[in-house]
């Protein structure tokens, strides 16, 4: 096996340029500076381009994320040659790959969604058509952006899932661009199905009278979710997006990579991610009810089920930021214990960090991001700055090899073999000790869960994040 037979991201090893925490600190400072500068230029409601209207900015964030995933994960940087990737300075590489992604994003949004789908398929993808039918320009653009954005939200779960959980099967042996095109088309197709099942009815309700002949209104989820809003789906889809990255990074694909049978492992991984995401989704919804009181259907803001479902996705995204940071910039600390122990510590650590990021965000974002004070402003989506930051992480690590704190060196043959072996782990085998530990662990995990739900009402009564 050599470097050219695996993907570029697998072929390289990122090596620190300086000892200790200096690379992480340097990159963090640069990333935060870049985040703030670009936020001001593109998104900030007080800044230059003010794309955070909010849906236009949201759409851009989401599609950039997808394009980055396509470029790095699905197309393995095709049509850029491996030699160019190996030799080019990270700054140039980062700039070129980012600009290519932006160009592709503009072509996709303007060309495919607005001009083709909006003009020949579904009117709400084209703001001009909505305006011509009497909707104000602002809401025409926002509604179209929401529809286009939701497509990306679904794809940002399915696209990485196909690589991470399904291991690119059954096209893993195809060369590029055939593999990339195939997986993009397949995940795009599945995204479209999920979109129609979860968001098309939501979009139809935006227009009076409800488009009952073209969408299921009221939708099938109404009774279960206690709302007709598609935010119910945003909740579990966002949790899927987050869990797929937890699974890939801090969980090192554990425990499903213990399954040796390819088909079973891939199926278990794909549906396991959904199962874990749904569990997380239900918990995050219930947690809000415990802190703020039970929802009241039809009310607004903090008490509304539709907003609480949306906030589930927002809370999940707060977990993704420390997860990726730990994985990218802290060498997935800790690594010295066995894989299950490492996974457990990282999970608890990143969950605690997520709570911290959440609190800091709501305490301070209105001061430096130009957003509104409060949890439940209808035009405020913490997903936008969080994904903006994650996009910058991805540019830095995927496109720039972690520059300046890190540099890419080719993996040795032995290291490549280790990467390959990670797909099917062999370091945990069923023993009586494991079984006993598992039983005790399950009980302790359940107790931890009940301890948390018992303490949440107290937190709601006694802790105020925003005055």
């Amino acid at each position: 096996m050599d470097n050219s037979s695996v993907s570029y991201l697998e072929s390289r090893k990122l090596v620190k340029r300086w000892n200790g925490p200096i690379p992480a600190l340097v990159n963090s400072v640069l990333i935060l500076a870049f985040f703030y500068a670009t936020w001001w230029i593109f998104q900030d409601p007080r800044g230059l381009m003010r794309m955070y209207t909010p849906y236009v900015g949201y759409m851009v964030c989401r599609w950039l994320l997808i394009l980055f995933i396509w470029v790095a994960y699905i197309f393995d940087f095709w049509p850029f040659k491996r030699s160019w990737l190996n030799k080019t300075h990270p700054l140039i590489k980062g700039s070129v790959l980012t600009l290519v992604s932006v160009a592709a994003m503009i072509i996709l949004i303007k060309g495919f969604f607005v001009e083709i789908l909006g003009n020949f398929g579904i009117a709400y993808f084209d703001p001009d058509r909505l305006m011509a039918m009497g909707i104000t320009d602002f809401y025409s653009i926002e509604y179209a952006a929401e529809a286009i954005m939701m497509f990306a939200a679904i794809a940002s779960w399915l696209s990485p899932s196909w690589v991470v959980a399904c291991e690119n099967a059954p096209w893993q042996k195809l060369g590029q661009p055939a593999r990339g095109i195939t997986i993009v088309l397949v995940t795009f197709f599945f995204s479209m199905i999920v979109y129609f099942l979860t968001m098309h009815s939501h979009m139809a309700i935006l227009f009076y009278p409800w488009q009952k002949f073209t969408a299921i209104c009221p939708p099938y989820w109404e009774d279960f979710a206690n709302t007709v809003s598609g935010n119910f789906h945003i909740a579990w889809i966002m949790c899927c997006t987050v869990v797929v990255w937890l699974y890939e990074t801090i969980w090192e694909r554990y425990p499903f990579n213990l399954i040796k049978h390819d088909g079973l492992r891939r199926t278990a991984s794909f549906f396991g991610i959904i199962g874990i995401a749904v569990a997380l989704c239900f918990f995050l919804f219930y947690a809000q009810d415990l802190v703020w009181g039970e929802t009241i259907r039809g009310t607004r803001r903090l008490m509304a089920p539709d907003w609480r479902w949306l906030h589930v996705g927002e809370m999940a995204i707060f977990w993704l930021v420390p997860t990726l940071f730990l994985s990218f910039y802290c060498n997935n600390w800790p690594t010295k214990f066995s894989r299950p122990v490492n996974v457990c510590i990282r999970t608890l650590l990143t969950a605690a960090m997520a709570v911290l990021v959440y609190v800091v965000y709501y305490k301070t974002s209105h001061l430096f991001l130009g957003t509104q004070k409060g949890f439940s402003h209808p035009q405020q989506f913490p997903m936008i700055p969080m994904i903006w930051l994650i996009n910058i992480f991805l540019i830095n690590v995927w496109f720039m090899d972690g520059w300046p704190g890190w540099k890419a060196v080719p993996r040795t043959e032995a290291e490549l073999e280790e990467v390959r072996e990670e797909v099917v782990a062999s370091d945990v085998k069923w023993t009586p000790g494991i079984a006993k530990g598992l039983a005790i662990g399950l009980a302790v995990g359940a107790l931890l869960y009940f301890a948390i739900i018992n303490v949440l009402p107290w937190i709601g009564e006694n802790i105020t994040i925003i005055k």
Binding site: P45, R46, R50, Y52, P54, T136, D137, F138, Y139, I141, I205, Y208, P218, T227, V228, P255, A279, F283, Y286, A287, G293, E294, I296, R297, G298, T299, R300, R301, M303, A304, D306, S338, P340, C344, T347, G370, Q372, K373, G374, F375, H377, Q379, Q380, V428, P432, G433, I434, A435, K436, G437, L438, I440, G441, L442, A443, V444, G445, L447, Y449, I453
Partner: protein
Amino acid sequence: MSNDKKNISRRDFVKGAATGLVAGAFAGMGMYSYSPWAYSRLPKTNRKQQDFGACRSVRVTNISETSWFNNAHLIGDIHEAGGLLVNQYTLNWAPFGNGKGSAKGSYDEGMSTIKDLLPHDLEKAWEIQKKLSLHPDNPGGYSCLLEVEALDGTVHKYLLDTGWSYEWMDNCFKREGIDQMLRDQEIEALFISHEHWDHFWGLPVTMKYDNRIPLYVHDGFYKEGLQYIEDSGYKGELTIADKPVTQIAPGVALLKFDVPIINRVFGETSLAFNIKDKGLVLISGCCHQGILKFADFAYANLKYDNDRFYGIYGGLHISPFEDWDPKYDDLVISLGQWGFERIGCNHCTGHLTAKKFIEAGYPVVRGTARFRSASKDYLGNGDKITFGC
């Protein structure tokens, strides 16, 4: 057993326990969180039922509900400025226009052009501002007169909000005789529901006739808003509402909601009335907290006759720009279960919402669509509604 075997067994135990810990926590999340058992644990609402007395009736006169005359101009200006989170004082609307264009407005620069004219020469002030502002003919305003009949038969008058355009609001005040009531100091207080342009920026019009009227504002007002009260020539007693419930008079309470609102505004205050033998009446400026949150808060915190929701009046903030969202249908579907007997709505409720309320069979009181109000589906300018008697 050798030490090696013991160590391996211990290591295996720890591996299993670590895996089980994470799996057990997620299993609990998935199997319990959205189950009926989880929800049976939630405490029932503990009703405080504060007794705030009772009154005999409340009559509302709609001075103006047309806060702006053209949705496309209003939302277009907001869009051009950068969206719904842009600070309202920078939008370059009168009376804070500075002639520099979209999103380049400034409280201080706008105010410097008219400060010496407030509140005595509002015609001139508004003429100056019309030249400096975006869409100067679009502002209108929201304001209503509340006439509360006490149990002893005396009538107490209050103003809720003071509109936006000096020109429009002065005409509306004259049309409904509010100018004279203010001059005669018949009106006992002015409540500002929230800091938004269309409810608050017409303050100098009230000041022109009575600059000592007791004034109530939410404690979320920004420094510009508090400065505007001073710059408008106010000389009276300002009350910054900082408690969830403030009793104003028997049967009249001011309720405070800490809610983030578009264009950087924070917080809304609304009014609750206990009508003897009838029940609770809720009156709002814009109701950004949501009508059901308003009702739920009242249910949990106030004592009212028959324990019954009786009426609503005001902007219910549902589709102010004739936009729509599925969550608004949640309200349309749910509102009927709360049992309101009279629904008077207008302004930011939106025509589309009023139409949907009527289609749902709710007891919506229709209007006359006079004085530039656009629809008979709700209570327009100059229309009145009485709760009780």
